[in-house]
Amino acid sequence: MNALADKHVKVITGNAAAAHGARLCRPDVVAAYPITPQSEVVEQLAKWHADGSIDCEYVTVEGENSAQNVVCGASMAGSRAYTATSSYGLVYMYDAMLNTAGYRAPVVMVNVNREPPGIHAVCSGQQDMICVRDSGWVQLIAENCQEILDLSIQAFRLAEDHGIQLPVILNYDGYYLSYLAEAVNIPSVAEVDDYLSILKTQPKRPTLIPGQGIGCGSHGIGPGFVEARKKHMDALDRVYQMVDDIDAEFDQAFGRGYGGQLEAYRCEDADIILVTSGSAVGTARTVVNARREAGIKVGLVKIRLFRPWPIQRLARVLKGKKAIGILDRSLCFGWGCGPLHMETKAIIPTIGEFIPMLGFIDGLANMDITKEHIDKMIDDIYSASKGNSYQEVTWLP
């Protein structure tokens, strides 16, 4: 295991890892508004800014809506722009997020997952990212502190790629990851510069330079609107391959790869699969390992790319399995199940066969997704795989 003897390894929180990730990518403009449990990110960046150890414009805005508009504007003027938020803040910037996506501004944003408004809860939960699912952003989800840092770097690489030009949200669980301190390997700025240097070899995206008669955000009139939307969808299509590729590049450069769009953990010979995302994956790995030792052929799919949804790769992993369970930390209102569950159901035609699917809703509002819970889920999936009747959606605890 990593030791602090290696001077690049530090015990830091998920939030600090996110801040380091941003720092290493050397953003030109950072704008953010503090919110629990994200505040540590903006505080850390502010501290580095005050120390003069990061060279950026740091805008202490008066609300998240402004934060999003600042980074969108800065990005369109050619800056590398970064913001961070959570929950109420995320939904407060919704109109501006749509703008950012429509402008194809390659902004990178960290969203520290927390329950959004409705029932007040200063607690973990992934409902916030579900609220902005259809905003046209790319959405990634991290499992642990190291991945938060690594994925921050990958997010800039992805967002700014000339073939993509889309804003990216990096999600990670509030509390369970935001405040979790683990040993994290922090690369050097030079290493990250090197990894991102490929962006400099690409054609320049259009930027709003004064005096050149350029306008940004014209009215899409008739076919112009349709064309812009179609291009956006096409770019999202290109994200699949790009996410796999840049993760492989990252593995080569830093020795840490994560599987791209998703990680299929012990899935190859598995009869049953549990699909989940975020911090719950770590706990699920330990349970899967234990059940494997007990002779149950169970595999685990970790969703890293939530938008666009990894249709093809997920379908390939799930094909031929006897039963699938999906663990959600949020709700899909109107479907009576969780969003990952609903999206997995939607790829049944791509899988090409019917497989029993069991949804589990757990981890709302800081409720702990325990090993016991996951054990029970695997029991249920296993039972369904044997042809027994099953409950389609189970709420835990």
Binding site: E62, N65, S66, N69, M76, D95
Partner: protein
């Protein structure tokens, strides 16, 4: 014997540019906003980036697909996001060392209402930009609804004249004064009847924006919404100044000054009679209105005496 042009009016001395707009653009015939927009484009210089929102100006400021209506740099944004988007642009140019004058160009609906938070926030941070609010006293683009800039008693489609109520029951928010209390380098009011005063102020605002936030509040009558004859908009501007309804003043580095002193202010009825939106006013309402105008002017005079 026909006269020859000896010299052009003084306001022309302030022009840095040709008119940057296309000759034919979609403002109503006789609209002061068109004159305003063209003046801004002449005065603000080459490195201007105009930040605008959905409003009467959007079909003129925003491009259409790949084509444009004017030659300035332009950024379209949401109603809430004018000052914040402009902040993003300003900071990006600062970081890159690019010369730029970022000019927010919005109506009162955005500045005073939905975008007020971001305006106030950007002013408090003293962002280096010019913010020009064209005040047409309501949401004119969407069908003449009231805004917080709509004055007392005005009939709009959301404050109509009925049996129980007659127009807007409260007065308007005094935004230029509020902005001056943000301790920013420059705040001014202007209107299109007093063009030299206006040009001077825009020029000063541009200079001051190198130091920080400059705010210019421009009284801009809307023919349709205010029920004014097509040829009379400039007259209405002039009457607004002469009645002290819209005094011309500036506040430079905390020092307030009336730039156009009115020796014998006219009664407010001289203004209201020019417009259909005040048609329902009775004596009592006029007296109330006069009181509001006098009170606000007194506050301004007091500030100018400091």
């Amino acid at each position: 014997m026909a006269a020859k042009i000896k010299k052009l009016p003084k306001v022309c001395d302030y022009f840095q540019n040709e008119d940057q707009f296309s000759s034919g653009v979609a403002y109503c015939a006789g609209c002061t906003l068109e004159l305003h927009a063209r003046m801004v484009s002449k005065i603000m210089g080459k490195e201007t980036v105009i930040v605008g929102t959905p409003s009467c100006s959007a079909p003129v400021l925003n491009g259409q697909n790949a084509a444009a209506w004017h030659k300035m740099g332009h950024y379209a944004c949401t109603m809430t996001g004018v000052a914040s988007s402009a902040t993003g642009l300003t900071r990006a140019y600062q970081k890159a060392g690019t010369d730029a004058t970022v000019v927010c160009f919005t109506g009162d609906g955005c500045a005073q209402d939905i975008g007020f938070q971001t305006l106030s926030g950007a002013a408090e941070r003293n962002e280096k930009m010019v913010y020009i609010c064209y005040d047409n006293e309501g949401y004119m683009n969407t069908g003449i609804q009231r805004s917080s800039a709509t004055p007392y008693s005005v009939a709009t489609s959301t404050t109509p004249v009925g049996k129980a109520r007659k127009g807007k029951e409260t007065g308007s928010k005094n935004l230029p004064l509020i902005m001056s209390l943000h301790d920013i380098p420059y705040v001014a009011t202007a209107t299109l009847s007093h063009l030299e005063d206006y040009a001077k102020k825009l020029t000063k605002a541009k200079e001051k924006s190198k130091e920080g936030f400059a705010y210019v509040h421009v009284f801009c009558p809307c023919l349709v919404g205010w029920k004014i004859p097509m040829d009379s908009s400039i007259q209405v501007c002039r009457a607004a100044v002469r009645t002290n309804f819209f005094p011309l003043w500036e506040c430079e580095d905390g020092k307030y000054k009336i730039t156009k002193e009115i020796n014998k202010p006219k009664p407010i009825a001289d203004l209201t009679q020019l417009m259909g939106k005040y048609n329902h006013m009775d004596e009592q309402m006029l007296a109330n209105f006069q009181q509001i105008v006098d009170r606000r002017f007194n506050v301004l005079q007091t500030l100018c005496s400091i």
